[in-house]
Protein backbone atom coordinates (compact mmCIF):
# COMPACT_ATOMS: atom_id res chain seq x y z
CA UNK A 1 0.00 0.00 0.00
CA UNK A 2 2.65 2.45 1.09
CA UNK A 3 4.70 1.96 -2.02
CA UNK A 4 1.70 2.87 -4.18
CA UNK A 5 1.47 6.37 -2.79
CA UNK A 6 2.88 9.07 -5.05
CA UNK A 7 5.54 10.18 -2.64
CA UNK A 8 6.84 6.97 -1.18
CA UNK A 9 7.38 6.06 2.41
CA UNK A 10 6.84 7.72 5.76
CA UNK A 11 10.51 8.61 5.94
CA UNK A 12 10.21 10.38 2.61
CA UNK A 13 7.28 12.42 4.03
CA UNK A 14 9.46 13.49 6.93
CA UNK A 15 12.26 14.51 4.59
CA UNK A 16 10.01 16.43 2.21
CA UNK A 17 8.11 18.36 4.80
CA UNK A 18 10.89 19.00 7.27
CA UNK A 19 13.33 20.31 4.68
CA UNK A 20 12.27 23.97 5.15
CA UNK A 21 12.39 23.54 8.92
CA UNK A 22 15.82 21.98 9.07
CA UNK A 23 17.53 23.83 6.20
CA UNK A 24 17.65 27.59 5.92
CA UNK A 25 18.54 29.35 2.69
CA UNK A 26 19.35 32.98 1.96
CA UNK A 27 15.88 33.36 0.49
CA UNK A 28 14.36 32.92 3.93
CA UNK A 29 16.46 35.76 5.37
CA UNK A 30 15.66 37.98 2.39
CA UNK A 31 11.91 37.47 2.83
CA UNK A 32 12.10 38.03 6.58
CA UNK A 33 14.13 41.20 6.09
CA UNK A 34 11.68 42.54 3.53
CA UNK A 35 8.56 41.78 5.56
CA UNK A 36 10.27 42.87 8.76
CA UNK A 37 11.08 46.29 7.37
CA UNK A 38 7.44 46.84 6.39
CA UNK A 39 6.38 45.82 9.90
CA UNK A 40 8.95 48.21 11.40
CA UNK A 41 7.59 51.02 9.25
CA UNK A 42 4.12 50.19 10.55
CA UNK A 43 5.45 50.24 14.11
CA UNK A 44 6.82 53.72 13.44
CA UNK A 45 3.37 54.76 12.18
CA UNK A 46 1.79 53.43 15.38
CA UNK A 47 4.34 55.32 17.47
CA UNK A 48 3.55 58.49 15.53
CA UNK A 49 -0.16 57.84 16.09
CA UNK A 50 0.27 57.35 19.84
CA UNK A 51 2.44 60.40 20.27
CA UNK A 52 0.21 62.70 18.21
CA UNK A 53 -3.41 61.58 18.43
CA UNK A 54 -6.07 59.78 16.45
CA UNK A 55 -6.25 62.89 14.27
CA UNK A 56 -3.36 61.53 12.18
CA UNK A 57 -5.97 59.13 10.78
CA UNK A 58 -8.41 60.37 8.17
CA UNK A 59 -11.27 60.02 10.63
CA UNK A 60 -13.72 62.81 11.36
CA UNK A 61 -17.23 63.43 12.52
CA UNK A 62 -19.28 61.42 11.42
CA UNK A 63 -16.85 58.75 10.15
CA UNK A 64 -15.53 57.67 13.54
CA UNK A 65 -14.61 54.17 12.40
CA UNK A 66 -12.72 53.40 9.24
CA UNK A 67 -9.61 51.60 8.06
CA UNK A 68 -8.59 50.12 11.42
CA UNK A 69 -12.05 48.59 11.91
CA UNK A 70 -12.19 47.56 8.24
CA UNK A 71 -8.91 45.72 8.75
CA UNK A 72 -10.20 44.19 11.96
CA UNK A 73 -13.32 42.82 10.28
CA UNK A 74 -11.34 41.69 7.26
CA UNK A 75 -8.70 39.83 9.26
CA UNK A 76 -11.23 38.25 11.59
CA UNK A 77 -13.01 37.14 8.45
CA UNK A 78 -9.82 35.66 7.01
CA UNK A 79 -9.24 33.83 10.26
CA UNK A 80 -12.52 32.07 9.85
CA UNK A 81 -11.94 29.41 7.35
CA UNK A 82 -8.69 28.02 8.65
CA UNK A 83 -9.96 26.44 11.81
CA UNK A 84 -13.47 26.02 10.46
CA UNK A 85 -12.45 24.15 7.30
CA UNK A 86 -10.01 22.02 9.19
CA UNK A 87 -12.58 21.22 11.88
CA UNK A 88 -15.43 20.51 9.48
CA UNK A 89 -13.25 18.34 7.28
CA UNK A 90 -11.86 16.47 10.28
CA UNK A 91 -15.33 15.90 11.68
CA UNK A 92 -16.57 14.61 8.34
CA UNK A 93 -13.40 12.54 7.79
CA UNK A 94 -12.79 14.16 4.41
CA UNK A 95 -9.65 12.47 3.19
CA UNK A 96 -8.43 15.29 0.98
CA UNK A 97 -8.06 17.56 3.99
CA UNK A 98 -4.86 15.89 5.21
CA UNK A 99 -2.22 18.13 3.60
CA UNK A 100 -4.13 21.40 4.17
CA UNK A 101 -5.27 21.27 7.80
CA UNK A 102 -2.02 22.50 9.37
CA UNK A 103 -1.57 25.40 6.96
CA UNK A 104 -5.19 26.45 7.40
CA UNK A 105 -5.05 26.30 11.21
CA UNK A 106 -1.85 28.36 11.29
CA UNK A 107 -3.51 30.91 9.01
CA UNK A 108 -6.34 31.27 11.53
CA UNK A 109 -4.01 31.85 14.46
CA UNK A 110 -1.95 34.52 12.71
CA UNK A 111 -4.85 36.37 11.11
CA UNK A 112 -6.66 36.52 14.44
CA UNK A 113 -3.50 37.83 16.12
CA UNK A 114 -3.22 40.59 13.53
CA UNK A 115 -6.96 41.27 13.77
CA UNK A 116 -6.80 41.60 17.56
CA UNK A 117 -4.19 44.36 17.25
CA UNK A 118 -6.53 46.65 15.33
CA UNK A 119 -9.12 47.46 17.98
CA UNK A 120 -6.23 48.40 20.28
CA UNK A 121 -4.59 50.68 17.71
CA UNK A 122 -8.01 52.16 17.01
CA UNK A 123 -8.64 53.19 20.63
CA UNK A 124 -8.22 56.80 21.62
CA UNK A 125 -6.40 55.74 24.78
CA UNK A 126 -5.03 52.24 24.14
CA UNK A 127 -3.06 52.32 27.39
CA UNK A 128 -6.31 51.88 29.34
CA UNK A 129 -7.64 49.05 27.16
CA UNK A 130 -7.70 46.88 30.27
CA UNK A 131 -10.90 48.66 31.34
CA UNK A 132 -12.55 46.20 28.94
CA UNK A 133 -11.33 43.20 30.90
CA UNK A 134 -13.68 41.99 33.60
CA UNK A 135 -11.54 41.87 36.71
CA UNK A 136 -12.64 42.41 40.30
CA UNK A 137 -11.34 45.58 41.94
CA UNK A 138 -12.02 47.58 45.05
CA UNK A 139 -13.86 50.30 43.13
CA UNK A 140 -16.48 47.78 42.07
CA UNK A 141 -16.17 48.73 38.41
CA UNK A 142 -17.02 46.21 35.71
CA UNK A 143 -17.15 46.46 31.96
CA UNK A 144 -20.55 46.89 30.38
CA UNK A 145 -21.65 43.41 29.39
CA UNK A 146 -24.44 44.89 27.29
CA UNK A 147 -21.89 46.32 24.88
CA UNK A 148 -21.16 44.26 21.76
CA UNK A 149 -17.52 45.32 22.13
CA UNK A 150 -17.29 43.28 25.32
CA UNK A 151 -18.86 40.32 23.55
CA UNK A 152 -16.28 40.89 20.86
CA UNK A 153 -13.42 41.04 23.33
CA UNK A 154 -14.51 37.77 24.92
CA UNK A 155 -15.23 36.08 21.58
CA UNK A 156 -11.90 37.03 20.03
CA UNK A 157 -9.87 35.96 23.05
CA UNK A 158 -11.76 32.65 23.22
CA UNK A 159 -11.28 32.05 19.53
CA UNK A 160 -7.59 32.92 19.65
CA UNK A 161 -7.01 30.61 22.60
CA UNK A 162 -9.06 27.82 21.03
CA UNK A 163 -7.35 28.17 17.67
CA UNK A 164 -3.89 28.07 19.21
CA UNK A 165 -4.80 24.88 21.08
CA UNK A 166 -6.35 23.46 17.94
CA UNK A 167 -3.20 24.25 15.99
CA UNK A 168 -0.89 22.95 18.69
CA UNK A 169 -2.52 19.65 19.62
CA UNK A 170 -2.24 17.91 16.24
CA UNK A 171 1.29 19.28 15.90
CA UNK A 172 2.68 17.41 18.91
CA UNK A 173 3.56 14.14 17.07
CA UNK A 174 5.28 16.11 14.32
CA UNK A 175 7.21 18.13 16.91
CA UNK A 176 8.46 14.87 18.38
CA UNK A 177 9.82 13.95 14.95
CA UNK A 178 11.69 17.25 14.70
CA UNK A 179 12.93 16.84 18.25
CA UNK A 180 14.64 13.63 17.25
CA UNK A 181 16.20 15.27 14.19
CA UNK A 182 17.43 18.64 15.45
CA UNK A 183 20.46 19.79 17.41
CA UNK A 184 21.54 22.63 19.65
CA UNK A 185 19.09 25.10 21.15
CA UNK A 186 16.37 24.08 18.75
CA UNK A 187 16.46 20.61 20.21
CA UNK A 188 15.58 22.04 23.63
CA UNK A 189 12.76 24.04 22.07
CA UNK A 190 11.21 20.93 20.56
CA UNK A 191 11.83 18.89 23.71
CA UNK A 192 9.72 21.44 25.56
CA UNK A 193 7.08 21.74 22.84
CA UNK A 194 6.60 18.04 22.12
CA UNK A 195 5.64 17.44 25.76
CA UNK A 196 7.51 14.15 25.91
CA UNK A 197 5.54 12.55 23.11
CA UNK A 198 6.71 8.98 22.48
CA UNK A 199 4.12 7.79 20.01
CA UNK A 200 2.59 5.03 22.13
CA UNK A 201 -0.81 3.62 21.29
CA UNK A 202 -2.25 5.31 24.36
CA UNK A 203 -0.99 8.72 23.31
CA UNK A 204 -2.36 8.30 19.79
CA UNK A 205 -5.81 7.29 20.95
CA UNK A 206 -5.85 10.15 23.44
CA UNK A 207 -4.83 12.64 20.77
CA UNK A 208 -7.48 11.43 18.40
CA UNK A 209 -10.14 11.72 21.10
CA UNK A 210 -9.07 15.24 22.11
CA UNK A 211 -8.95 16.32 18.48
CA UNK A 212 -12.43 14.95 17.99
CA UNK A 213 -13.71 17.08 20.86
CA UNK A 214 -11.78 20.21 19.84
CA UNK A 215 -12.95 19.97 16.23
CA UNK A 216 -16.58 19.88 17.32
CA UNK A 217 -16.20 22.61 19.94
CA UNK A 218 -14.30 25.04 17.73
CA UNK A 219 -17.01 25.12 15.03
CA UNK A 220 -19.65 26.99 17.08
CA UNK A 221 -16.93 29.23 18.49
CA UNK A 222 -15.86 30.16 14.96
CA UNK A 223 -19.44 30.87 13.90
CA UNK A 224 -20.10 32.93 17.02
CA UNK A 225 -17.00 35.06 16.54
CA UNK A 226 -18.00 36.52 13.23
CA UNK A 227 -21.63 36.79 14.28
CA UNK A 228 -20.46 38.92 17.17
CA UNK A 229 -18.24 41.00 14.91
CA UNK A 230 -21.31 41.65 12.78
CA UNK A 231 -23.29 42.58 15.89
CA UNK A 232 -20.80 45.37 16.57
CA UNK A 233 -22.61 46.92 13.64
CA UNK A 234 -26.04 45.34 13.69
CA UNK A 235 -26.73 46.23 17.33
CA UNK A 236 -26.48 49.94 16.56
CA UNK A 237 -29.29 52.02 15.10
CA UNK A 238 -27.10 53.24 12.24
CA UNK A 239 -29.11 52.98 9.01
CA UNK A 240 -28.20 49.86 6.97
CA UNK A 241 -26.05 48.44 9.78
CA UNK A 242 -29.13 47.73 11.83
CA UNK A 243 -30.01 44.56 9.97
CA UNK A 244 -31.03 41.10 11.10
CA UNK A 245 -29.21 39.46 8.21
CA UNK A 246 -25.82 40.81 9.25
CA UNK A 247 -24.70 37.89 11.42
CA UNK A 248 -25.11 35.12 8.79
CA UNK A 249 -24.01 37.53 6.07
CA UNK A 250 -20.76 38.24 7.91
CA UNK A 251 -20.18 34.56 8.67
CA UNK A 252 -20.66 33.68 5.01
CA UNK A 253 -18.36 36.48 3.89
CA UNK A 254 -15.79 35.40 6.46
CA UNK A 255 -15.79 31.78 5.31
CA UNK A 256 -15.63 32.99 1.72
CA UNK A 257 -12.58 35.22 2.20
CA UNK A 258 -10.98 32.62 4.47
CA UNK A 259 -11.25 29.88 1.87
CA UNK A 260 -9.73 32.23 -0.68
CA UNK A 261 -6.78 32.86 1.63
CA UNK A 262 -6.36 29.13 2.28
CA UNK A 263 -6.10 28.64 -1.49
CA UNK A 264 -3.59 31.50 -1.84
CA UNK A 265 -1.44 30.10 0.94
CA UNK A 266 -1.62 26.55 -0.39
CA UNK A 267 -0.49 27.68 -3.84
CA UNK A 268 2.41 29.62 -2.34
CA UNK A 269 3.47 26.79 -0.01
CA UNK A 270 3.29 24.30 -2.84
CA UNK A 271 5.51 26.50 -4.97
CA UNK A 272 8.01 27.63 -2.33
CA UNK A 273 8.52 24.28 -0.61
CA UNK A 274 8.13 22.02 -3.67
CA UNK A 275 5.17 20.18 -2.20
CA UNK A 276 3.55 19.40 -5.56
CA UNK A 277 3.09 15.77 -4.66
CA UNK A 278 1.21 16.65 -1.47
CA UNK A 279 -0.92 19.58 -2.58
CA UNK A 280 -2.38 18.02 -5.67
CA UNK A 281 -4.98 19.30 -8.14
CA UNK A 282 -7.45 17.28 -6.13
CA UNK A 283 -7.10 19.62 -3.14
CA UNK A 284 -7.48 22.71 -5.30
CA UNK A 285 -10.44 21.17 -7.11
CA UNK A 286 -12.29 20.67 -3.82
CA UNK A 287 -11.33 24.09 -2.44
CA UNK A 288 -12.47 25.61 -5.75
CA UNK A 289 -15.87 23.97 -5.39
CA UNK A 290 -16.15 25.48 -1.92
CA UNK A 291 -15.19 28.87 -3.32
CA UNK A 292 -17.87 28.57 -5.99
CA UNK A 293 -20.56 27.70 -3.47
CA UNK A 294 -19.51 30.48 -1.12
CA UNK A 295 -19.53 33.09 -3.89
CA UNK A 296 -23.14 32.22 -4.70
CA UNK A 297 -24.23 32.17 -1.05
CA UNK A 298 -22.41 35.43 -0.39
CA UNK A 299 -24.18 37.13 -3.26
CA UNK A 300 -27.52 35.74 -2.13
CA UNK A 301 -27.09 37.29 1.31
CA UNK A 302 -25.84 40.58 -0.07
CA UNK A 303 -28.72 40.75 -2.54
CA UNK A 304 -31.37 39.90 0.05
CA UNK A 305 -30.09 42.73 2.25
CA UNK A 306 -29.71 45.30 -0.52
CA UNK A 307 -33.03 44.52 -2.18
CA UNK A 308 -35.07 45.12 0.97
CA UNK A 309 -33.31 48.44 1.48
CA UNK A 310 -33.79 49.44 -2.14
CA UNK A 311 -37.43 48.46 -2.27
CA UNK A 312 -38.34 49.93 1.12
CA UNK A 313 -36.95 53.40 0.27
CA UNK A 314 -36.72 54.28 3.94
CA UNK A 315 -35.00 57.67 3.45
CA UNK A 316 -32.06 57.32 5.83
CA UNK A 317 -31.31 53.76 4.65
CA UNK A 318 -31.83 54.52 1.00
CA UNK A 319 -29.43 57.46 1.24
CA UNK A 320 -26.69 55.06 2.34
CA UNK A 321 -27.41 52.49 -0.37
CA UNK A 322 -27.49 55.15 -3.06
CA UNK A 323 -24.24 56.61 -1.80
CA UNK A 324 -22.71 53.11 -1.92
CA UNK A 325 -23.87 52.09 -5.36
CA UNK A 326 -24.16 55.36 -7.28
CA UNK A 327 -21.97 57.75 -5.31
CA UNK A 328 -18.19 58.02 -5.09
CA UNK A 329 -18.03 54.43 -3.86
CA UNK A 330 -19.39 53.07 -7.16
CA UNK A 331 -15.96 51.91 -8.45
CA UNK A 332 -15.42 50.02 -5.22
CA UNK A 333 -18.90 48.58 -5.46
CA UNK A 334 -18.30 47.22 -8.95
CA UNK A 335 -14.91 45.88 -7.87
CA UNK A 336 -16.74 43.97 -5.18
CA UNK A 337 -19.36 42.56 -7.54
CA UNK A 338 -16.82 41.57 -10.19
CA UNK A 339 -14.28 40.06 -7.79
CA UNK A 340 -16.75 38.39 -5.46
CA UNK A 341 -19.35 37.15 -7.86
CA UNK A 342 -18.56 37.40 -11.57
CA UNK A 343 -14.99 36.09 -11.63
CA UNK A 344 -15.25 33.25 -9.11
CA UNK A 345 -18.63 32.19 -10.48
CA UNK A 346 -17.47 31.91 -14.08
CA UNK A 347 -14.10 30.33 -13.31
CA UNK A 348 -14.78 27.98 -10.40
CA UNK A 349 -17.59 26.46 -12.43
CA UNK A 350 -15.07 24.59 -14.60
CA UNK A 351 -13.04 21.65 -13.43
CA UNK A 352 -10.06 22.44 -15.68
CA UNK A 353 -9.76 25.91 -14.14
CA UNK A 354 -10.18 24.61 -10.58
CA UNK A 355 -7.31 22.21 -11.20
CA UNK A 356 -5.12 24.96 -12.62
CA UNK A 357 -3.00 26.23 -9.76
CA UNK A 358 -2.24 29.59 -11.37
CA UNK A 359 -5.92 30.29 -11.98
CA UNK A 360 -6.64 29.37 -8.38
CA UNK A 361 -3.98 31.81 -7.15
CA UNK A 362 -5.34 34.71 -9.20
CA UNK A 363 -8.99 34.03 -8.38
CA UNK A 364 -8.33 33.58 -4.67
CA UNK A 365 -6.43 36.87 -4.53
CA UNK A 366 -9.21 38.66 -6.43
CA UNK A 367 -11.84 37.28 -4.06
CA UNK A 368 -10.00 38.88 -1.16
CA UNK A 369 -9.72 42.16 -3.06
CA UNK A 370 -13.49 41.95 -3.42
CA UNK A 371 -14.00 41.06 0.22
CA UNK A 372 -11.81 43.95 1.34
CA UNK A 373 -13.92 46.28 -0.81
CA UNK A 374 -17.01 44.78 0.77
CA UNK A 375 -15.70 45.58 4.28
CA UNK A 376 -15.03 49.17 3.23
CA UNK A 377 -18.50 49.45 1.70
CA UNK A 378 -20.16 48.12 4.84
CA UNK A 379 -18.43 50.55 7.18
CA UNK A 380 -17.66 53.88 5.52
CA UNK A 381 -20.81 54.78 3.52
CA UNK A 382 -23.15 53.99 6.42
CA UNK A 383 -21.24 56.36 8.70
CA UNK A 384 -20.86 59.03 6.00
CA UNK A 385 -24.61 59.30 5.49
CA UNK A 386 -26.07 59.51 8.98
CA UNK A 387 -29.57 60.47 9.97
CA UNK A 388 -28.92 64.21 10.15
CA UNK A 389 -27.93 65.57 6.71
CA UNK A 390 -26.16 68.44 8.49
CA UNK A 391 -23.66 65.87 9.76
CA UNK A 392 -22.85 64.13 6.51
CA UNK A 393 -19.20 63.60 5.70
CA UNK A 394 -16.70 61.46 3.86
CA UNK A 395 -13.42 59.73 4.50
CA UNK A 396 -9.96 59.51 2.97
CA UNK A 397 -7.26 57.35 4.56
CA UNK A 398 -3.93 58.96 5.47
CA UNK A 399 -0.41 57.57 5.11
CA UNK A 400 -0.53 56.49 8.75
CA UNK A 401 -3.53 54.23 8.24
CA UNK A 402 -2.16 52.88 4.97
CA UNK A 403 1.22 52.15 6.58
CA UNK A 404 -0.39 50.30 9.48
CA UNK A 405 -2.54 48.34 7.02
CA UNK A 406 0.51 47.41 4.93
CA UNK A 407 2.32 46.40 8.11
CA UNK A 408 -0.62 44.17 9.04
CA UNK A 409 -0.43 42.25 5.77
CA UNK A 410 3.36 42.07 6.05
CA UNK A 411 3.10 41.09 9.71
CA UNK A 412 0.74 38.25 8.92
CA UNK A 413 3.07 37.04 6.17
CA UNK A 414 6.07 37.36 8.46
CA UNK A 415 4.42 35.33 11.20
CA UNK A 416 3.53 32.70 8.64
CA UNK A 417 7.04 32.58 7.20
CA UNK A 418 8.51 32.22 10.69
CA UNK A 419 5.98 29.51 11.42
CA UNK A 420 7.13 27.51 8.40
CA UNK A 421 10.70 27.86 9.67
CA UNK A 422 9.93 26.32 13.03
CA UNK A 423 7.03 23.98 12.36
CA UNK A 424 6.06 21.56 9.60
CA UNK A 425 3.52 23.36 7.43
CA UNK A 426 1.89 20.10 6.40
CA UNK A 427 0.65 17.73 9.06
CA UNK A 428 3.05 14.84 8.56
CA UNK A 429 1.29 12.27 10.66
CA UNK A 430 -2.06 12.95 9.05
CA UNK A 431 -0.52 12.46 5.61
CA UNK A 432 1.16 9.26 6.76
CA UNK A 433 -2.08 8.09 8.28
CA UNK A 434 -3.76 8.72 4.96
CA UNK A 435 -1.10 6.63 3.25
CA UNK A 436 -1.90 3.75 5.56
CA UNK A 437 1.66 3.78 6.79
CA UNK A 438 2.37 1.95 9.97
CA UNK A 439 5.39 2.10 12.19
CA UNK A 440 7.50 -0.95 11.67
CA UNK A 441 7.54 -3.26 14.64
CA UNK A 442 10.38 -2.47 17.00
CA UNK A 443 11.24 0.85 15.34
CA UNK A 444 10.52 3.80 17.57
CA UNK A 445 8.84 6.31 15.26
CA UNK A 446 6.86 8.85 17.29
CA UNK A 447 5.42 10.57 14.23
CA UNK A 448 3.56 7.73 12.56
CA UNK A 449 0.14 6.86 13.91
CA UNK A 450 -0.95 3.24 14.27
CA UNK A 451 -3.30 2.18 11.53
CA UNK A 452 -6.37 1.64 13.65
CA UNK A 453 -6.78 5.15 15.10
CA UNK A 454 -8.90 6.49 12.28
CA UNK A 455 -11.28 4.43 10.25
CA UNK A 456 -11.31 4.90 6.51
CA UNK A 457 -7.79 6.22 6.60
CA UNK A 458 -6.51 4.13 3.78
CA UNK A 459 -6.52 4.99 0.17
CA UNK A 460 -6.27 8.74 0.45
CA UNK A 461 -3.83 8.91 -2.38
CA UNK A 462 -4.64 5.63 -4.04
Amino acid sequence: MASDSPFGSAARVNDDILRPVLQTTWRFYAVVALLGSVVLWGAFAVWYLLSTGIGVFGLNRPVYWALMIINFVFFVGLSHSGTLISAILRVTHAEWRRPITRGAEAMTVFTIMVAAAFPLIHLGRPWVFYYLIPYPDLRGLWPNFRSPLIWDFIAISTYLTGSIIYLYLPMIPDLAVIRDRSHGWRRYLYIALSLGWTGSEREWSRLSRVLGIMAVVIIPVAVSVHSIVSWDFAMTIVPVWHSTIFAPYFVVGAIYSGIALVITIMVLIRWVFNLQSYLQPRQFDNLGKLLFVMSVIWFYFWFADALTTWYGREPSEFAVLRYTILGPFAPLFWTMIVCNLVIPFWTMMFKQLRRNVLVMLVVSLLVNVGMYSERILIIVPALSRGRLPSAWGSYQPTWVEISITAAAFAGFSLLYVLFTKFFPVVSMWEVKEGMGERAEAGVKEPGTPPRKTVEGAEGAYG
Binding site: D137, L138, R139, G140, Y188, I191, A192, G196
Partner: protein, 166 residues
Amino acid sequence: MRLGLVVAPVFFLIVAAAGAFLLTTTGQAPPTQPIAFSHLVHANEKQIACTYCHQGVAKSAVAGIPSVEKCMGCHRTVAVDSPEVRKVAAYWERKEPIAWARLAYLPDHVYFSHQPHIQAGKECQTCHGSPSLPNGSFGRLQPGMDWCLSCHRRDGASIDCSTCHK
Protein backbone atom coordinates in the same frame (compact mmCIF):
# COMPACT_ATOMS: atom_id res chain seq x y z
CA MET B 1 11.25 19.67 29.61
CA ARG B 2 12.60 19.61 33.19
CA LEU B 3 14.54 22.77 32.38
CA GLY B 4 11.25 24.49 31.51
CA LEU B 5 9.73 23.46 34.80
CA VAL B 6 12.58 25.19 36.63
CA VAL B 7 12.81 28.27 34.44
CA ALA B 8 9.13 29.20 34.50
CA PRO B 9 8.75 29.65 38.29
CA VAL B 10 12.09 31.44 38.51
CA PHE B 11 11.04 33.84 35.78
CA PHE B 12 7.72 34.38 37.50
CA LEU B 13 9.44 35.12 40.81
CA ILE B 14 11.79 37.62 39.21
CA VAL B 15 8.87 39.50 37.61
CA ALA B 16 6.89 39.48 40.84
CA ALA B 17 9.89 40.72 42.85
CA ALA B 18 10.55 43.51 40.35
CA GLY B 19 6.88 44.54 40.52
CA ALA B 20 6.85 44.57 44.30
CA PHE B 21 10.07 46.60 44.35
CA LEU B 22 8.63 49.18 41.97
CA LEU B 23 5.38 49.43 43.93
CA THR B 24 7.13 50.06 47.24
CA THR B 25 9.72 52.53 46.01
CA THR B 26 7.80 54.82 43.69
CA GLY B 27 6.29 56.94 46.50
CA GLN B 28 7.23 60.59 46.06
CA ALA B 29 9.73 62.20 48.36
CA PRO B 30 8.19 65.02 50.43
CA PRO B 31 8.77 68.42 48.84
CA THR B 32 10.94 70.93 50.65
CA GLN B 33 8.86 73.69 52.16
CA PRO B 34 10.17 77.27 52.20
CA ILE B 35 9.70 77.25 55.97
CA ALA B 36 9.95 74.25 58.29
CA PHE B 37 6.37 74.60 59.48
CA SER B 38 5.21 71.90 61.90
CA HIS B 39 1.59 70.80 62.10
CA LEU B 40 2.67 68.71 65.07
CA VAL B 41 3.51 71.82 67.07
CA HIS B 42 0.54 73.92 65.98
CA ALA B 43 -2.28 71.37 65.85
CA ASN B 44 -1.16 68.67 68.27
CA GLU B 45 0.81 70.47 70.99
CA LYS B 46 -0.81 73.89 70.92
CA GLN B 47 -4.25 72.51 70.03
CA ILE B 48 -5.06 75.19 67.47
CA ALA B 49 -8.19 74.25 65.50
CA CYS B 50 -7.61 73.40 61.82
CA THR B 51 -10.29 75.90 60.79
CA TYR B 52 -8.40 78.72 62.52
CA CYS B 53 -5.96 78.73 59.59
CA HIS B 54 -7.85 76.80 56.87
CA GLN B 55 -10.90 78.99 56.98
CA GLY B 56 -12.56 78.08 53.70
CA VAL B 57 -13.13 74.49 54.60
CA ALA B 58 -16.71 74.75 55.86
CA LYS B 59 -18.06 76.99 53.14
CA SER B 60 -16.20 76.36 49.93
CA ALA B 61 -14.52 73.77 47.77
CA VAL B 62 -11.01 74.54 48.97
CA ALA B 63 -9.84 74.78 52.55
CA GLY B 64 -7.29 77.48 51.74
CA ILE B 65 -3.77 78.26 52.87
CA PRO B 66 -3.49 81.01 55.52
CA SER B 67 -2.04 84.34 54.49
CA VAL B 68 1.26 85.62 55.89
CA GLU B 69 -0.83 88.11 57.81
CA LYS B 70 -2.53 85.23 59.58
CA CYS B 71 0.85 83.80 60.61
CA MET B 72 2.03 87.18 61.81
CA GLY B 73 -1.16 87.62 63.84
CA CYS B 74 0.41 85.32 66.41
CA HIS B 75 4.07 85.41 65.51
CA ARG B 76 4.39 89.13 66.10
CA THR B 77 4.51 88.11 69.74
CA VAL B 78 4.93 84.34 69.85
CA ALA B 79 8.31 82.66 69.34
CA VAL B 80 9.72 85.71 67.56
CA ASP B 81 13.27 84.54 68.08
CA SER B 82 12.86 81.21 66.33
CA PRO B 83 14.89 81.20 63.09
CA GLU B 84 11.94 79.79 61.10
CA VAL B 85 9.55 82.43 62.45
CA ARG B 86 12.10 85.06 61.45
CA LYS B 87 11.82 83.79 57.93
CA VAL B 88 8.05 84.35 58.12
CA ALA B 89 8.66 87.85 59.39
CA ALA B 90 11.01 88.45 56.48
CA TYR B 91 8.25 87.52 54.04
CA TRP B 92 5.97 89.91 55.92
CA GLU B 93 8.53 92.70 55.63
CA ARG B 94 8.94 92.09 51.89
CA LYS B 95 5.13 91.93 51.50
CA GLU B 96 5.59 88.64 49.71
CA PRO B 97 3.38 85.52 49.95
CA ILE B 98 4.97 82.27 51.07
CA ALA B 99 5.18 79.75 48.23
CA TRP B 100 4.13 76.63 50.17
CA ALA B 101 4.58 73.37 48.33
CA ARG B 102 1.27 71.63 47.87
CA LEU B 103 0.83 68.20 49.47
CA ALA B 104 -2.79 67.23 48.85
CA TYR B 105 -3.44 66.69 45.18
CA LEU B 106 -6.41 65.37 43.26
CA PRO B 107 -6.26 64.52 39.56
CA ASP B 108 -7.79 67.01 37.15
CA HIS B 109 -10.74 64.72 36.44
CA VAL B 110 -11.86 64.69 40.07
CA TYR B 111 -14.29 67.23 41.47
CA PHE B 112 -14.00 67.66 45.19
CA SER B 113 -15.50 70.18 47.54
CA HIS B 114 -14.62 70.33 51.25
CA GLN B 115 -17.90 71.97 52.18
CA PRO B 116 -20.30 68.98 51.90
CA HIS B 117 -17.82 66.76 53.70
CA ILE B 118 -17.53 69.17 56.64
CA GLN B 119 -21.32 69.65 56.58
CA ALA B 120 -21.65 65.87 56.92
CA GLY B 121 -19.46 66.06 60.03
CA LYS B 122 -16.27 64.53 58.68
CA GLU B 123 -13.03 65.15 60.56
CA CYS B 124 -10.05 66.58 58.69
CA GLN B 125 -7.93 63.68 59.94
CA THR B 126 -10.15 61.14 58.16
CA CYS B 127 -8.60 62.05 54.84
CA HIS B 128 -5.45 63.97 55.73
CA GLY B 129 -4.10 61.75 58.47
CA SER B 130 -3.00 62.73 61.96
CA PRO B 131 -0.92 65.91 62.41
CA SER B 132 1.49 63.77 64.41
CA LEU B 133 2.59 62.15 61.17
CA PRO B 134 6.09 63.16 60.07
CA ASN B 135 6.32 66.36 58.08
CA GLY B 136 5.60 65.76 54.43
CA SER B 137 3.28 62.83 55.07
CA PHE B 138 0.63 64.71 56.96
CA GLY B 139 -1.88 66.35 54.64
CA ARG B 140 -1.26 63.91 51.84
CA LEU B 141 -4.23 61.97 50.58
CA GLN B 142 -4.64 58.25 50.29
CA PRO B 143 -4.43 57.54 46.58
CA GLY B 144 -7.20 55.80 44.75
CA MET B 145 -10.88 55.97 44.12
CA ASP B 146 -11.54 52.81 46.15
CA TRP B 147 -10.55 54.75 49.25
CA CYS B 148 -13.10 57.54 48.55
CA LEU B 149 -15.73 54.92 47.78
CA SER B 150 -15.16 53.03 51.02
CA CYS B 151 -16.69 55.97 52.99
CA HIS B 152 -19.24 56.91 50.33
CA ARG B 153 -20.58 53.34 50.34
CA ARG B 154 -20.54 53.01 54.14
CA ASP B 155 -22.27 56.36 54.76
CA GLY B 156 -24.76 56.07 51.91
CA ALA B 157 -23.32 59.09 50.10
CA SER B 158 -23.70 59.31 46.33
CA ILE B 159 -21.56 56.90 44.32
CA ASP B 160 -22.84 58.26 41.01
CA CYS B 161 -19.82 58.85 38.72
CA SER B 162 -20.84 62.44 38.04
CA THR B 163 -20.75 63.33 41.74
CA CYS B 164 -16.96 63.28 41.76
CA HIS B 165 -15.84 63.09 38.14
CA LYS B 166 -15.84 66.18 36.00
